[in-house]
Structure formats: structure tokens, C-alpha cells
């Protein structure tokens, strides 16, 4: 008796939908087991992680504010991953977007009465996007023109981006009246994203996440470019025969993912933080990779995946306060979740059959 795996010609939609749900359930069970192991009540943890964030308006706003950058970055990354290109340096592109956009806010400090201020915020956002695109062009160029592994170069550039931000925040961009703290001046109000609701949490930057999802859904469904991306990923030889250029596509998908990450970065400093600090990201660029896979690289799936992952981040912070669960538990859960998603993926690609005896 043995189990046999057969490749599916096509995946039934019900399995396409159930696979990530089953993965989430499996990850929650494993997480609960681990919590029991370190002596915490899994039932209480479940309530703190997954129910309490929905009970008050403040947490709900927080959920959206955390999910938006994840969704925005992950939507960009889905273009890369669908084309089988592995940009894992979104964290670096995020930091660069925040740094360059934030620098504009710092140098235009106090210019509003003289020059008028309505150009400042759009300039910042544009600069953030351009910085993210430019930073993503480095691994894209090295990959497309020289054949260097984009996985390793994009990751190394994350470290370099973090160090660059640290250098400027401790040096040229430091607030001279800031008691030597490594941070910039607080941005002028005109350089901040407006808030959508009372409570100073929900800033307008979250709309970009939603817009990215709608735009990506349109591109994948309706445009030749979206088809091109999918084709290169699933059948590279066929794509080459059809005359699609590998190099041009590499630049395009890296530009999209870098621009999205850069925009998320500038929104974080202009919406959430309001100044530059040595660290501006709680690992959004890496968590977004999980979101992309949790959403099965589909735009609407990514929207849901971003909310789920934001829930684990907020839940983790609450659990640290309420139950003294170490913050690393969140990371363990995220890693487990991604692994479960990838493991469940096998059911969408293969059919399992129990073979009792073999016909000769």
C-alpha cells in the first residue's frame, strides 16, 4: 500500500480557495502547540491574537494601517514572483523610498509660507517611488545584463539600505535641536499624509494599498503585459519563442515591485512616523513576501493575506503586553504560516491517491 501523487491538469477552484485556509488552520494549531510548550494558554492567546483586535475602533484602524504597506509591497512582488524572478530585497527598497521621500520633507522644512506647500507631499511620494525603482534597478541590471543571482544581490542591498539610512539619520539629517537623538526634525503638517478618520491613525496612504490591488487585478486579467509576466514564469521557452524579451521583463517587474515598496516606505514616514529614524520598518518588506504567497500571488488574495498577517503583528504586540509572550513568537508563527501555505500548495498541483496494490 502506498500513496501516489499525480500532477493535476487543472486545479478545481474549491481547492484553490481551501488550500490557504487549511494552511492558516494548520499554522494556528502548530502555534497553539508551541505556546502550550512555553507554558502559555493557547485559548487565551487565540483570543488575544485573533479576536481582540476586532473589538475596538482603534485596533481596527491599526489593522488597516499595518496591512496597507504589506498589501502594497506584496502586490508589487507578485509581479516578480509570477515571472519567476526573486526580488527579496523589498525591505531595502522600502527603506530607500522612506529615506529619499523623508529627505524632501526635511529640506523643505519651513518653505510653505514662501513657496506654498501643496507641491511638497506629491513630490515626496514621487521621490519615494523613484528611489524604490532606482534601488530595485541594481539587482535587475545585475541579473539581466550580467546574470548575477538577484536573490543574493537584492538581499545584500537590504543591509546596505539600512546602514545608509542609519548614516544619514545620525549625520546630515539629524535634528540639530533634537538633544543628539538620532532622528530628523518632525515633518511639517503639509508634508504629512492627511488622516481619513479621527484618532490620528488611519492616514490616506492606506488607499494606495487598495489601488494597487485593483490595478494589479486589471493588469493580470486584461493586459498583454500581465499575460507576458505569467507566461514567462510558467513557460519561459514558449515566451522566448513568442518573442518576449527576458531582460525587458526583468526590468519591468523589478521596477513595479521596487516602486510599490518605495511608495510604501514614503507613506510610512509621511503617514505613520512623521520623521526619519534609524529604523523605519518593522520588517514589512520581508513579511510582504509571506503575504504574496498567502494570497497565492493573486491581487485579491493578497488583500486578504495582508489583513491576516497584520492581525498576527498586532496580536503579537498585544500578546506581549497581556501574556508576556516574547515578540519572537510572531516571527515563529509567520514562518510556520508560510511553510504551511507552501506545503498545502501541493494539493493544488497534485492529486493524491491511495494505491492498495499494484496492477502488473
Amino acid at each position: 500500500m502506498r500513496i501516489e501523487m499525480q500532477r493535476r491538469a487543472s486545479t478545481p477552484p474549491i481547492i484553490e480557495f481551501l488550500a490557504p485556509v487549511a494552511a492558516l488552520v494548520a499554522a494556528v494549531l502548530i502555534g497553539g502547540g508551541l505556546l502550550t510548550l512555553i507554558g502559555k494558554s493557547p485559548a487565551q492567546a487565540f483570543s488575544v491574537y485573533f479576536l481582540e483586535p476586532f473589538t475596538d475602533a482603534w485596533s481596527l484602524q491599526e489593522l488597516v494601517v499595518k496591512a496597507a504597506p504589506l498589501v502594497l509591497i506584496a502586490t508589487g512582488l507578485s509581479f516578480c514572483y509570477r515571472a519567476n524572478l526573486w526580488n527579496i530585497g523589498a525591505e531595502g527598497q522600502f527603506v530607500m523610498g522612506g529615506l529619499v521621500g523623508g529627505t524632501i520633507a526635511v529640506v523643505t522644512q519651513g518653505m510653505e509660507p514662501v513657496l506654498g506647500g501643496y507641491w511638497i507631499l506629491p513630490t515626496m511620494l514621487l521621490a519615494g517611488v523613484i528611489a524604490g525603482v532606482a534601488y530595485a534597478m541594481i539587482p535587475a541590471f545585475l541579473r539581466a545584463k550580467l546574470g548575477a543571482s538577484e536573490i543574493l544581490t537584492s538581499l545584500m542591498l537590504v543591509y546596505i539600505a539600512e546602514i545608509t539610512l542609519d548614516y544619514f539619520v545620525r549625520g546630515k539629517l539629524r535634528d540639530p535641536k533634537g538633544f543628539n537623538f538620532p532622528q530628523s526634525v518632525p515633518f511639517d503638517d503639509i508634508a504629512r499624509l492627511p488622516f481619513l478618520m479621527d484618532g490620528e491613525r488611519l492616514h490616506a496612504g492606506v488607499l494606495f494599498g487598495l489601488m494597487a490591488v485593483i490595478l494589479a487585478a486589471y493588469i493580470f486579467r486584461r493586459t498583454l503585459f500581465g499575460f507576458d509576466v505569467k507566461l514567462v514564469g510558467s513557460a519561459p521557452k514558449a515566451a522566448r519563442f513568442a518573442g518576449f524579451s527576458d531582460a525587458r521583463l526583468t526590468f519591468a517587474v523589478f521596477a513595479i515591485s521596487g516602486g510599490a515598496a518605495g511608495l510604501a516606505g514614503v507613506c510610512e514616514v509621511a503617514g505613520q512616523i512623521g520623521q526619519l529614524q534609524p529604523v523605519i520598518s518593522p520588517g514589512y518588506g520581508f513579511s510582504a513576501i509571506i503575504v504574496a504567497f498567502l494570497g497565492r500571488l493573486q491581487p485579491w488574495g493578497i488583500l486578504v493575506g495582508g489583513l491576516v498577517l497584520a492581525l498576527t503583528i498586532i496580536g503579537g504586540e498585544n500578546a506581549q503586553i497581556a501574556m508576556k509572550v516574547p515578540l519572537d513568537m510572531t516571527r515563529v508563527f509567520q514562518g510556520t504560516l508560510l511553510m504551511c501555505v507552501l506545503a498545502m500548495d501541493v494539493f493544488t498541483r497534485y492529486r493524491f491517491r491511495l494505491v492498495l496494490w499494484r496492477h502488473v
Binding site: 501516489e4 501523487m5 500532477r7 512555553i38 526573486w86 527579496i88 545585475l142 550580467l146 546574470g147 548575477a148 543571482s149 536573490i151 543574493l152 544581490t153 538581499l155 545584500m156 542591498l157 543591509y159 546596505i160 546602514i163 545608509t164 542609519d166 548614516y167 549625520g171 520581508f286 513576501i289 509571506i290 504567497f293 516574547p326 515578540l327 519572537d328 513568537m329 510572531t330 516571527r331 515563529v332 508563527f333 509567520q334 514562518g335 510556520t336 508560510l338 511553510m339 507552501l342 506545503a343 500548495d345 501541493v346 498541483r349 497534485y350
Partner: protein, 307 residues
């Protein structure tokens, strides 16, 4: 610079290169079998945390080493089941492993922050350590450094001179042909992945038991990723990996000395050195060979036997 100073610098290059050598050799074997494991950083840091925790609890460095190796093997086993038997995407699973390993290391290590223990003893090998010039430089290290050298030699011999090594390379070059010849493709790959995990765990144990004998979150500082780059840089050959690791170890040591000497270079630029060197190394290598010419042909592809 005096001769003694020079000797000291060379000596520290060997120690700085050791975690890179050990982890790179493990990844090299795994990649030669056709499996790209991007989780080296996660396995390494989990190894560092486990090794330190067990060494503190039992008072024995040797049990600590075993704990570090065990942590690496366990994590690589999860990875292996996913990518080899369930045909999961290797890049994404490797990233998941790094996230998971970093988190687990934080959980394991949280009770041990701030504790210190003595670094493992350095062993002077009798007679040869008395040799002029090279004696002290080469033969007064701790056990990890010797283990790293032994791994390089043993792996080089295994891959190029034994039947089992030939089988492993065949599996990594063309899994369909290997399968047709009756070779157990998935079993060979799984064993290679476990070996990679053991090596990454050992490299982590070196960091927390000898190189800097304490536990701190993030103490691997990207060494796992650099080891991955080293495998590419070495064109998948153990001896080249050894030479490359010395180069990277040299960059690290020079950076430390430059920082101490206060040359007026921003500290951040020096901290960024290893990462910059890695990118430059990858570029230089790509300029010499076009991609795909030297990598194992089945690297990163999953294999499902069609009955």
C-alpha cells in the same frame, strides 16, 4: 606594522572565515545535489542559540555543539520534507525557514541574554605548532577551525573521488537520468539537505561558543547569506569556497581594524563592507562565467517520479 601584529591579523582572518567555511560547505553539498536552501541564516542562528543554551544548562561545550548541530538538522529536515517530498518552491520555503529559525532562536535564547561563558579552549597541536612563522598561525586554533578545514578536505574528496559523491552530483545535474539509472534521487537529496543543516548549525555553535561566547539576537549578522553567496562565488567547489571564505574573513577583519584605528571613514561604510564585497564578488564571477554554465543543472528544480 610589526610582524607580531601581522601574525595576529592573519590569525583572526582564519577565525572570522571559519563560520563561513563551515556553512558554505554544507550549502555546497546540498546545492550539488540540486537543492537550493536559502534558510542557512535561519539554521545558523537557531544553531547558535541552541548551542549556547545547552552549553549553559549542561556546562558542557561539547553537548552545546551537538545541540547546535541538532537544531540545524531538525530545521533542515522540515525544509527537506517540504521541498523534496511535497515539491514546494525552494526559494520561498528557504525564506520561510530563515524567518522561522530567527524566531525560534529568539525564543530559545531569550532566557540567556547577557550571560557569558568562557570561549572553548584553543588546542596547540604538538610539534607542528612549534614551527617557525606558520606554526602558531595554523596550529593553535580551537576545534571548530580544524573542523572547518577537515570538512573542506573531506567534502572535496567525497565529491570528486567516491562513488557516493558521483551519485550525489548525478542527482544534482540531471534528476531524470539519475532516476532512470535507478538512483534514489529524493533520498540522496534529503541526506544532502540534512548535511547542509548540520553544517549551518555547527557554524552557529561556533559563533556562540567560541567566536563571541555569548548569545545576542541577530548575532549571525547575515553570515548565512554571505555563505550562500560564497557557494556561487566558489563555482560549487570546496577548495574555492575555502579561499573565498578567507577573502571574506579578511574583509571582516580589516573592517574591525579600520574601525579601531579611527581613520575617519564613517563606521557605517565599514559595517557595509562585507555586503558590498559580496555583491562585487557576485558581479566579478558573473563577468567571468555566464549564468548557468557552472551551476548544477537541476539546481532549484523539484523532482516527482512519474511512477
Amino acid at each position: 606594522m610589526s610582524l607580531q601584529m601581522f601574525e595576529l591579523v592573519l590569525f583572526t582572518i582564519f577565525t572570522a572565515a571559519t563560520p563561513l567555511i563551515i556553512a558554505a560547505i554544507g550549502e555546497l553539498v546540498s546545492e550539488r545535489a540540486g537543492v537550493l536552501n536559502l534558510g542557512v541564516e535561519g539554521m545558523m542562528i537557531a544553531g547558535a542559540a541552541s548551542a549556547f543554551a545547552i552549553a549553559i544548562l549542561t556546562g558542557s561545550s561539547w553537548l552545546g555543539i551537538l545541540g547546535g548541530i541538532g537544531a540545524g538538522v531538525c530545521l533542515s529536515a522540515i525544509f527537506g520534507v517540504l521541498v523534496i517530498f511535497l515539491a514546494a518552491n525552494q526559494v520561498a520555503t528557504g525564506l520561510a525557514l530563515t524567518i522561522l529559525g530567527t524566531g525560534l532562536a529568539g525564543l530559545v535564547g531569550s532566557g540567556f541574554i547577557g550571560m557569558k561563558r568562557d570561549a572553548m579552549a584553543h588546542l596547540s597541536i604538538p610539534f607542528v605548532s612549534e614551527l617557525p612563522l606558520v606554526g602558531k598561525l595554523l596550529f593553535t586554533h580551537d576545534v571548530f577551525v580544524y573542523a572547518g578545514w577537515a570538512l573542506v578536505i573531506a567534502t572535496g574528496w567525497f565529491l570528486s573521488r567516491t562513488r557516493a559523491g558521483l551519485v550525489l552530483r548525478a542527482v544534482g545535474e540531471n534528476h531524470h537520468s539519475a532516476h532512470a539509472l535507478g538512483l534514489p534521487v529524493r533520498r540522496v537529496r534529503f541526506l544532502a539537505v540534512l548535511f547542509g543543516g548540520a553544517c549551518a548549525g555547527l557554524a552557529g555553535a561556533y559563533l556562540s561558543l567560541s567566536y563571541t561566547p555569548f548569545w545576542a539576537p541577530g548575532m549571525t549578522a547575515g553570515r548565512g547569506w554571505i555563505a550562500l553567496a560564497l557557494v556561487v562565488f566558489a563555482s560549487w567547489r570546496p577548495a574555492y569556497a575555502f579561499a573565498g571564505a578567507l577573502l571574506f574573513g579578511g574583509a571582516t577583519v580589516l573592517q574591525l581594524h579600520a574601525q579601531a584605528a579611527a581613520l575617519g571613514i564613517p563606521g557605517q561604510l565599514l559595517t557595509a563592507m562585507p555586503y558590498l564585497v559580496t555583491i562585487i564578488a557576485l558581479v566579478v564571477l558573473s563577468l567571468r562565467h555566464r549564468r548557468g554554465a557552472i551551476a548544477p543543472a537541476s539546481l532549484g528544480l523539484s523532482f516527482m517520479p512519474e511512477r
